[in-house]
Amino acid sequence: MVRTKQDDAFEKNVARTILASMQTPAVGEAGNTGEWRTMRPILHNDLCIVVKSGKPTCHLCWMYCPEITVSREIPPVFNYTYCKGCGICATECPTKAIEMVPEKEAPSCEGNEGGEF
């Protein structure tokens, strides 16, 4: 079979279409998913195993967070921009160091009355 100019043009077109439909990895593909949250996780450092021992021993909150919003640091830090507030970390915490607080009552939301759209 002989390759023609049309074949080349066709292949180029296909390659361009594929490249144009390629996606780029990005944080927050669905926007700031933290806006979905109704309950906010709060860490009590005095109960947390990792903070108390100072060693990377437990980290169950990091392990079980589906949204990867809990960091593997000492102490664990929540990424409230993307945390959907499912509450798995609070349920799974062996010492109940994580508490779920209604979003409106959370300390950082004092100025935010909510309910306005």
């Binding site: 780029t24 593909e29 990377p56």
Partner: protein, 306 residues
């Protein structure tokens, strides 16, 4: 053996801010599977919630190349990708993962999977079993268990038990078959790494129980707890089948003894899809679990492992 936290890599192949529901079991399974396989992975993905996870616009939370394909062709596409890698001589360091839901494995995608298993194509097939077609609105599938209410079985619930996919895959003579649950992320991690070690030995099949808060009907924070109850009640044993030899994973070993298993009612009553079940239905579930463990016991005895 339990992995230490420091032995698990911190690098994530998935980024925050996905389109999946809060408390999604699939997302946790996806995260840990990709973490185990690393950046050198090619994923093929049929229509499922994982497609939603992949994003709709020019952005995606996944850091690995994903090929979105038709429902029926997930295994065929993975086989094609594996063949291309073999032709290029890159099949040693790049792994192909077919990531399907239970519809793409038990029902629609089954012929492709069966064909690929028979041909011995070199890829890992992972099935996230959330026991119905959750993405399209909770329709009954071959993986839906007895009594579960779905939008296509709305009054009595499904009247049949689920397919035994592990037995079917065992009959295909695969080199590695495993069953794991989202409640044990370390187990998911270890099993995917083990599946990777079986490179060049045909299809490796891994089934993961993925909890679904809207489909099963439970609060989002109970997602892991319910997956763990499925293991503790003996309904979902964590096991492996290495070259045909059955091995019970350590978290499930103690449930061989019937007295150590929790009551199946604890698992069923936590979900609204089973709320209508009566005592007779619980009996069917108990018989199913006892029968399954009896089969496991007989097989281990035959192997001389008991």
């Amino acid at each position: 053996m339990v992995l230490k936290v420091s032995e698990i890599p911190e690098e994530e192949m998935m980024l925050s801010g996905t389109r999946l529901c809060s408390g999604c079991g699939l997302q946790l399974a996806y995260r840990w599977a990709l973490k185990a396989l690393g950046p050198k992975t090619i994923v093929t993905n049929p229509a499922s919630c994982s497609t939603v996870c992949g994003g709709v616009g020019g952005y995606t939370p996944l850091k690995v190349p994903v090929f979105y394909c038709c429902f029926e062709t997930v295994a065929a596409n993975a086989a094609g990708a594996a063949a291309a890698l073999k032709a290029k001589g890159q099949d040693k360091d790049i792994v192909v993962l077919a990531w399907a839901g239970d519809g793409g494995t038990y029902d629609i995608g089954f012929q492709g999977l069966s064909g690929a298993s028979e041909r011995g194509d070199n890829f890992i097939f992972a099935c996230v079993n959330n026991q119905a077609y959750m993405n399209t609105g909770i329709q009954r599938s071959g993986a839906t268990p007895y009594g579960a209410k779905t939008t296509t079985t709305p009054i009595l619930g499904k009247q049949q038990m689920n397919k035994n996919m592990l037995k079917i895959m065992e009959a295909h003579g695969l080199s590695y078959i495993a069953q794991t649950s989202t409640s044990h992320p370390r187990d998911i991690y270890e099993k995917f790494q083990k599946a990777r070690e079986f490179n060049g030995k045909g299809v490796r099949y891994i089934e993961i129980l993925g909890t679904c808060p809207p489909g099963w009907g439970f609060p989002t924070d109970k997602s892991i707890e319910l997956a763990r109850l499925a293991v503790q009640t003996g309904y979902w044993p964590l096991l492996e089948r290495i070259e045909g030899k059955l091995v019970i994973s350590s978290p499930s070993k103690r449930y061989m003894d019937k007295t150590k298993r929790k009551d199946i009612r604890e698992f069923l009553k936590g979900q609204s899809r089973f709320r209508h079940l009566k005592e007779a239905d619980f009996k069917i579930w108990e018989d199913y679990i006892d029968g399954m463990w009896e089969g496991i016991r007989l097989e281990l005895e035959k192997q001389g492992d008991l």
